[in-house]
Point group: C2
Chain length 277, copies 2
């Protein structure tokens, strides 16, 4: 592993690392924020942040303003890139498939299956790397934005007991039923829509064995609200399943990091309460 950036921030350090991912078969970059409490010798809980389409590890660490709250609560923030990268990794035309668009699934179809295993990377390999190299405990929370909000919800629901808390900003709640998800799942998982259910939060809540509360914030003026995000499908699925959900629609807010910055403090407080419980 190599440290690419090391910047003092709110009394701690915003670092960026490059490390080898055997799961993905490539090098990956990861943002790691170590709050001031990381110097104290005790292991700290970790919030994993999954970014949206086109993003790298940079978007969240430069624009969300999350470090202030992580420093207040003593939480490590880990923000990985959104897909495998490198010349060996297949890509596609368009911003919504291939590099920058991993969708946090384990692909089963060629040419994607070899490298596009973001599920295994985020859920297993990345936490193992974090917990081996940083003063990180195994108390984990997960959140994300848009495609990454889908990832956070789906991976938390698929892995009961693995995360203490989950939240999402403007998530793609029902990827099986919107264009972004249909394109990506069709490519990565193949034409059989049954296979898509394993990564669709609105399907996963129906069979969830753990009633982990879902916290979702959504901008009311988000340009993708009706076409791609459709949070009311998650609301209906949670009501049908009796799964706890707090969904807040914020009039005026759009899909940008200005929206995330405005509410990330509330999410980190939510995770901090669960992580210290």
């Amino acid at each position: 592993m190599e440290r690419l950036e090391h910047r003092a921030c709110f009394g701690g350090w915003q670092d960026v690392y490059r490390h080898r991912s055997d799961v993905l078969g490539c090098d990956m970059t990861v943002g790691v924020y170590l709050p001031p409490q990381a110097a104290g010798g005790t292991r700290l809980p970790v919030l994993y942040w999954l970014s949206g389409l086109t993003c790298t590890e940079q978007n969240f660490i430069t624009k969300a303003g999350a470090q202030r709250y992580a420093a207040e609560h003593g939480i490590i923030l880990v923000a990985p890139d959104t897909s495998p990268r490198g010349d060996d990794v297949p890509d596609a035309e368009g911003y919504d498939l291939g590099k920058g668009a991993g969708f946090y699934v384990n692909a089963t179809q060629d040419p994607w299956a070899r490298h596009y295993r973001m599920d295994d990377y985020v859920v297993r390999e990345l936490p193992a790397w974090v917990e081996a190299h940083f003063p990180a405990s195994d108390a984990r929370a997960i959140s994300g934005h848009s495609m990454g909000g889908h990832g956070a919800l789906a991976l938390a629901l698929r892995n009961p007991g693995r995360y203490r808390s989950v939240s999402a900003f403007a998530p793609i709640v029902a990827p099986s039923r919107v264009p972004w998800g249909e394109k990506a799942f069709g490519a990565y998982l193949g034409p059989d829509r049954e296979a898509w259910k394993r990564y669709d939060a609105t399907e996963l809540v129906a069979t969830a064995t753990e009633r982990l509360p879902l916290l979702v914030d959504q901008g009311g003026d988000d340009e993708f609200l009706d076409g791609q995000l459709r949070p009311h499908l998650l609301q209906a699925a949670c009501e049908a399943a009796g799964h706890p959900l707090e969904l807040r629609i914020h009039p005026g807010y759009d899909h940008s990091y200005y929206f995330i910055a405005s509410f990330i403090g509330r999410h980190i407080a939510h995770h901090a309460a669960a992580l210290s419980a």
Copy 2:
């Protein structure tokens, strides 16, 4: 004028406008943050933010996290671009002269004198535009980073009574004595170094008729500290002149927006106290 961006943020609106500048002879883009209190009908004080080399209006509004604090204190934030722009505007090789490097002076030399009048723009034309089009009072504060820190200090010292408060992050305190300033001042103001004193904070404090306290934060591990910034020259000049200065060196912090984000809350609180006094 044209509104290019309009994004809900911390209960207010982060807007970006394009407006015609007669002073600069070109169109300019400006970030304007209107806090939630701007909807209340009363005129609010304004903090003008001057960015550094290579920046546009985007850097501060996307990376500093200042909107949270402006919303708390009810302050409008105005962040202009850092130079005149457009095909008619002369430019130079390198990032430290010409476009993106206006240095907040009124140029007197060809080919710069026609467009490079950032002093007049920032001190006169921009506030007049802001106070005509937004619920802004004439209670003004000014701050900035690096080249913009120089601008904030120099323009406040040159214009007693115009600003209620001034602060700077990692400012170029003595442009007459460091490479960035020597190159820019030589081009914009000509070879006579006497003319440079009008825009050099370490010279201006010696003759300042108003004892406006200077608040300066500086990263101790800033890569430009010794070569370009040299805050101790300002400290010495203030001591010699009896000018009030609070200079804080922060070990570990560099020149990036992570440094600004870490301390912008303190600066906005400082300005809020002066603006409401």
